[in-house]
């Protein structure tokens, strides 16, 4: 995360607007209210191309709410979101996904009754063709697009070590495999930005190492940027080039992992402030 959160007032922020120009994904002054509760209050975000940025914060800090606003699952109350310079604030989740903004979910949301391959093919909805008539008749390039999609899906599944379970029902896989299928589903559509919501939650240490390697390899291999919301500090510091910390929905600080994780404010936020007598 490059320069953000210079201000604590939650206003529009000229500084932030300048600093987010030219980034792949940028958000300025995001606000989300749930009734009287302000879940996210003036958060800025700037994601450069081919980079991994992390969002951390204590439980209930508003990380997932922020991600939901970025992905379009939640409407934004204030602020703007831009993808490659285009204002996407008013677009819904499906339309943002079509523009190459993809996500995974904290609590895995696979289509359990469908095969792994089909899950990935649903992820490639934008790359495939045909609706009612096209689906029945199969003309208009439908067959070609389907074949190409299966090819791509097979490649992605092989890369993620899932080729052997391509025909298994997604619901029958282990937890770690399901996490990878979710990433495969998003990756197969060649997204520009991938939002990962706690990809290491519930993984054992070996799986966590694999996840770290995988996430690190994503920008180079797929030419995308990653926004990582995570609790696991090792994973964050191993993968991210910049981290932003939020607390109570407000930006706390940001910078390079080593700096941020040793910042007294961050330590206080996570561990509580020492009571000095």
């Amino acid at each position: 995360m490059t320069a953000t959160a210079q201000r604590m007032d939650g206003g529009t922020g000229v500084l932030a607007a300048e600093s987010t120009a030219g980034h792949l994904l940028s958000a300025t002054g995001l606000v989300k209210r749930f009734g009287g509760l302000i879940a996210v209050d003036g958060v800025d975000l700037a994601v450069p191309a081919n980079d991994i940025v992390g969002i951390i914060g204590p439980n209930g800090a508003g990380k997932t709410t922020l991600l939901n606003m970025l992905s379009g699952a939640l409407a934004v109350d204030e602020g703007t979101i831009r993808l490659d310079g285009v204002d996407i604030t008013q677009r819904n989740a499906a339309s943002r996904a079509a523009l190459g903004l993809r996500r995974t979910f904290q609590n895995i949301r696979l289509f359990g009754g469908m095969t792994v391959l089909e899950n990935v093919l649903v992820g490639m909805h934008v790359q495939t063709r045909g609706w009612i008539a096209g689906g029945i008749i199969g003309g208009w390039g439908v067959a070609r697009a389907e074949r190409a999609a299966v090819e791509t899906a097979a490649t992605v599944l092989t890369t993620l070590g899932l080729e052997s379970c391509a025909n298994s029902l997604a619901g029958s896989l282990s937890y770690g495999q399901q996490r990878r299928v979710e990433i495969a589903r998003a990756l197969a559509s060649s997204p520009r930005v991938l939002l990962l919501d706690e990809p290491a939650a519930g993984l054992n240490s070996a799986e966590k190492r694999e996840a770290t390697e995988l996430i690190c390899s994503l920008p180079e291999r797929y030419g995308l940027s990653v926004v990582l919301v995570e609790h696991d500090m090792d994973l964050v510091s191993d993968t991210c080039s910049a981290i932003s910390v939020i607390e109570y929905g407000r930006p706390l600080c940001d910078g390079r992992p080593a700096e941020v994780l040793n910042d007294q404010r961050v330590i206080d936020a996570y561990l509580g402030t020492a009571v000095v007598r």
């Binding site: 979910f105 089909e118 199969g138 092989t158």
Partner: protein, 361 residues
């Protein structure tokens, strides 16, 4: 460079999943057609053929509703209204009531289109609701259609009210009318009932083909995904409203076409044929046969049409036994007679592509 060439070569060798799905759907629809032909040959009486025709029409309805309920997960309790709209559009535009006589073959797509349009009109507001609320909205819609059919005889007589429409035109092929008289093609005789049976078999086999194709196509994948998680599906770029509306419209047009066919077969339509209980009957076929399964819809239609006929001799115990059998089936096989599994086509498709991949690397 080599890898690229290998990739290109492999691509031409890889069978298209679309072609595989087309073959599988054609094969299954063909099996249905063959079964129908066998039924026709083995049927001991016209009565049996009439029951079989009824089964086929209900099966088409159940296959249409199965797309809405089973694939897209939308509980539609007013489905029979679309059947009614199809039946009445033929009854009004091809009978002596208004002295309009439009050709049957033109009216099949028109009836489907009329039902589909109504599906859009009802679906757009209704599909903003979820679960139970959608069920209530569609139930209300079904009642509205029924009440309209009953009451639209005043001030201008459109539907002829509760008396229904009689004397509906028979379908014509050239100068010959289907269902007017028995025909003999050499040694094979086709009674008027049998002629309609053939028509119904063609329609139902066509519906089966379409339903199977759609299930495995991009739209069907979106439907099945949507049923499990709307949030995840829309995050894949699928427009949920559009996908839901498409399921609704597809189901409606299948019912509309079946309505045209039925109106032509009976030669008469009455509002009472499109009561709420009929919607429930079709839904029961879908659930009994196995929700989401195309063959299940057929099985459900067979059981729910045939069984009441078989039980005729038990007279007053008929409904009791009927209900008991339903309860038993759902108790012993809650997933339905044909649980919807993972079709072989999809498995086969990737197995080919991964083994090839493994071999080339």
């Amino acid at each position: 460079m080599t890898a690229l060439m290998e990739g290109r070569e492999a691509k031409t060798r890889l069978p298209s999943p679309d072609a595989a799905s087309r073959r599988s759907a054609a094969k299954q629809a063909g099996i249905l057609a063959i079964v129908c032909a066998l039924v026709l040959l083995a049927a001991p009486s016209d009565y049996t053929v009439r029951i079989a025709t009824m089964i086929l029409i209900y099966a088409a309805l159940a296959m249409g509703l199965n797309v809405v309920v089973g694939l897209a997960g939308l509980l539609d309790l007013g489905f029979i209204a679309f059947f009614g709209v199809g039946a009445y559009s033929y009854a009004l535009l091809a009978s002596n009531l208004h002295d309009i006589h439009i050709n049957f073959w033109l009216m099949v797509p028109v009836g489907m289109l009329a039902a589909a349009l109504l599906g859009v009109v009802v679906g757009l507001p209704a599909l903003r609701t979820h679960g139970d609320y959608l069920a209530i909205v569609t139930l209300g819609f079904g009642e509205i259609v029924f009440i309209l059919l009953v009451n639209l005889d005043r001030p201008i007589n459109i539907t002829n009210g509760p008396q229904g429409v009689l004397g509906i035109d028979l379908p014509a092929v050239g100068g010959w009318q289907i269902g007017r008289e028995d025909v003999y093609l050499g040694p094979i005789g086709l009674t008027t009932t049998m002629q309609f049976f053939v028509l119904a078999a063609l329609y139902t086999a066509g519906v089966m083909y379409c339903a199977l194709r759609l299930r495995d196509a991009r739209l069907g994948r979106a439907w099945r995904a949507m049923q499990e998680s709307e949030a995840a599906t829309s995050s894949c770029g699928v427009s949920i409203v559009r996908a839901k509306l498409s399921a609704f419209v597809f189901g409606a047009s299948v019912a509309g076409g079946a309505g045209v066919l039925t109106a032509a077969w009976y030669g008469s339509v009455f509002p009472d044929s499109f009561l709420f209980s009929e919607s429930i009957k079709v839904l029961a076929m879908v659930v009994l046969g196995g929700i989401g399964s195309v063959w299940g819809a057929l099985a459900g239609a067979v059981v729910l049409v045939f069984m009441p006929e078989l039980l005729r001799e038990f007279d007053q115990y008929r409904l009791l036994i009927f209900g008991l059998v339903l309860v038993l089936v759902m108790r012993l096989r809650p997933q339905g007679l044909f649980a919807s599994g993972t079709p072989r086509v999809r498995r086969w498709t990737l197995r080919r592509s991964t083994t090839r991949r493994g071999g080339s690397s």
